[in-house]
Amino acid sequence: MLNPQHPMQLALGLTVWSVWFVALYGGLLTLIGPLDQWAHTGTGPHMVQHMLLMGLIAPLWILLRPQAQLVRGSGALGQPLIGGLARLARHPLWMAYLHGGAIWLWHLPAVYDLALDHAGWHAAEHLSFLLTAVLFWWAVLSTSARRSPFALLALLLTLMHTGFLGAIMTFGREPFYADARDLQDQQLAGLIMWVLGGIPYLLAAGWVTRRWLLHLSRRMANA
């Protein structure tokens, strides 16, 4: 995989490999295994699982740029599908609306509890989270530098509405969901979504801004 001829290349290669490792295995472990079992013990742990999925695994995956390999490996069926997704991912704000819609939908108590009771719906929930998150991060992180303002707006919007939802969970009078051990458990979940969950969006905003400014100074130097 790596033919390092230079220490920097080796370091870079190791970094990429670690990211790949975390993204792939972390993703698997989040969904099955001990982390998944822990997620069933309450709203707080459940929130941690979802945040890992949408806020860590999805963006890492996008950073690895698997699209080219997927296209090559998926044949006649996959190519138009991935091409279609790629077209969608050119619009950061629409992907933010989609992602936001999925988040709010699955946090309606009736729908949330449905997913708790039926493994099929729970799988659908995780799939929709993962898919919309991947599309969102694809649009935000891989967008052309020219569309950076839209990516930043998409990040701001997502930061705000997830913080909002987290705040509602934090200040609620009673638990909304069946898996809440007590009110404190829900408050913890809300704070995780609100405060910790804001970190990936803030970091991404910094990253997008930096990339944008570099692009602009390169363009000015060439002009």
């Binding site: 709010w104 509602i168 934090t170 200040f171 909304f176 404190q184």
Partner: protein, 851 residues
Amino acid sequence: MTETTPVQPHEATEQTRSLHQTFSRVWANWPGLGSLAAVNHTTLGLRFMITGLIFFLIGGVLAMLARTQLALPEQNILTADVYNQVFTMHGTIMMFLFAIPVLEGLAIYLIPKMIGARDLVFPRITALGYYCYLFGGIIILSSLFLGVAPDSGWFMYTPLSSAEFSPGPGSDFWLLGITFVEISAMAAGIELTVSILRTRAPGMTLRRMPIFCWYILAMALMIVFGFPPLILASILLELERATGMPFFDPGGGGDPLLWQHLFWLFGHPEVYIIFLPAAGIVSTLIPVFSGRPLVGYRWVVLSIIVTGFISFGLWVHHMFTVGIPQLAQAFFSVASMLVAVPTAIQVFAWLATLWTGRVRFTLPMLWIFGFLVIFVCGGLTGVMLALVPFNWQVHDTHFVVAHMHYVLVGGMFFPLIAGLYYWLPHVTGRLPSERLGKWGFWLTFIGFNATFLLMHLTGLLGMPRRVYTYEAGLGWDWLNLLSSVGGFIMAAGVAMIVLDLLLHARLGRRAPANPWQADTLEWATATPPAPYNFASQPTVTSRHPLWDQSDVAQQMAAGEGHLGEVQQDQRDTLGTDAITARVAERCHLPGNTWLPMLSAAALAVVCIGLLIRIYPLALAGCLVAAVFLLRWSWLNGGHPLAAPLTDAELAGKDDDQSPPLESRTLDGPGRWGMIITLLANGTLYASLLFGWFYLWTASPQWSAPADSPLATLPLLATAILVTVLTLLYRDRVRHLQGGEDRHLAAALGSLTVLGAIATGAVLWVMVSAPLAATEQAHDAVLMVMLIYLFWHCGLATVLTGLQALRVRLGYVSAHLPYETRVLQPFWVYTCGVFWLSLAAFIGLPMAWGGG
């Protein structure tokens, strides 16, 4: 100001003299009383600052009254009732009528000069802002003289401030008056944002922008996002007081804590809105007096942005004792401490700059030293207050009063005076007195510390805030006496400063050009500055133009830069790209006009009408204001009075000599202004959403009916209609971009009719819905939502109708497509708000299962 012959940065020749005369003629204010119609930023900036300083003195007198009452125990110089009015007005005046306006005024005065522009980008809005501030301030102040000043504290906690416990007009003066004054803050916020982003001199990329402009940009954006929660809260509380809609009354399903959340969502960013411009002054002065550029420019920019962001997430630290979940307290405690980090970065950047420079210790630097000591002390006590168990002891005691004054006086007043002394030679062309200045500093510094240093101890010894008197023998006696004496010493210091300001206009020495050898462009104007700032605009190639581009001042004054001549007798400045600062368009700016003052006067009538509860008067005021405001919007850049289409333009020939006029383009500052305004509007709406969700999930006695009382289908139909309308409008604009304007008037006319139908539908739903808005908070919020939709749909319709008319008159066409691009975001916003309202206020409650 006395007549001082301006010091020019250039050698005057016959040519340049006539050039400057032409500019002066086009840019001058009208003489005599006509100067009240001025829209020039230099004039208005100074007016903001002088008015602000007058309010400061009034607020200071109120403070002296309070300190006199508290000097000895168990006094009755002021009764409890009067004392409550005094401290409420002291806080209100200082925070809303002094701190923000004076810094706004400084920014309005300085920003165009620093970015190499001739004026701010919406001059009439600057004037509107000033008059709203002046009239609103007078209205609030009048309550004091009428003996009915607000008396529930400057943060007006409910239920104390609501109709049941404050039945007099005091709270109404606050709610209506402050909202009126806030128009001025919003105007400044929007205008400064767009001006800094779109009218910088060519070549002044964001990285070459003076650091002061970064601070003001952050302040302006924080105003845009930070004030709307308070505006909404004030509207809701005033509605509660006037009509009984129980937003904050637990009996009706409301919650007093909702007021606190909305207030502090504004309140915490507010203190950074006050601190950042002052820190900007410090960041500007230190490099000049160290003779070297600011160390860590990029770090400081990052700190400014991070401070702006984080400050919106800290508001809960004002509410640690209300019963917030303990986990939330821990999180907010940590976050509140972390905001010290970007501030520390700035302090150490300043230290590093001083360390690596050769410092000239002038009078401004003396004030900056005072700032450092006092502000760092205040910041340290702030970190202490962020620790919850300690906060539980000292919250609402004089410890907080001490902390607050340390950060506000140290962090804002001292830098302000430093900036005053620094820029005074620029404003008047004369230097103030060193001796008076030093006396002023030491009296103020010593007096301030005498008043407030040991006040920390007073708080630790248990003295609560806002008490009009106290018993003897609690250990507070000598401390209060000391604070009161200190107050008088500080007052003497302030008097020295005022004296110095007044005297220097007569007796001060003439200042040479650029007396401090500064690096930023404002020192390239004449001192005092001409109303047009520069005879031509520069091309900037460095972050320190006056240090690195040695001839730039002379070149500009000789007319050798951009826009070096008056075209068509118009005032103008260049519009440039936000990031690369390449020339994009020529912005034609309006001249003197009475419309802003008249509009503000009409709004003042509305305010007074609502205050005295004579609603026909308020309605009349609204109509008159509407006439003035619509007339104002009518006379914009596309109007033939302003810039008639030339023959060349009509023939379709490209004029590639000079940059296009803004009204001929598709993306000028006006569109940006609309978008920034919509961001503020959106924040207001988001606050309403927050209130809705908060009450629904956290209000103690919330009750919601099983089915929504609103007719869902008609609202859905209306939303679809508005969506269709928006799409059709967008389509029209796209045609216009392609140069096609046939049938434009008719198309806009039909869209107006559709809009009227939609507006009518919302009105019908509003009137026919069985909402018990004065009994249930649930219904009250729905009513506010409907009013919001009605207002936006209606306004968009009216503006579209007017636009159709303007097409007929030839003010809008394929040659002048710009206005449609400005109105388009407004329709998109209205459409978005319709769907969001349907989802959040009707759909979600149904899906949630009835709450």
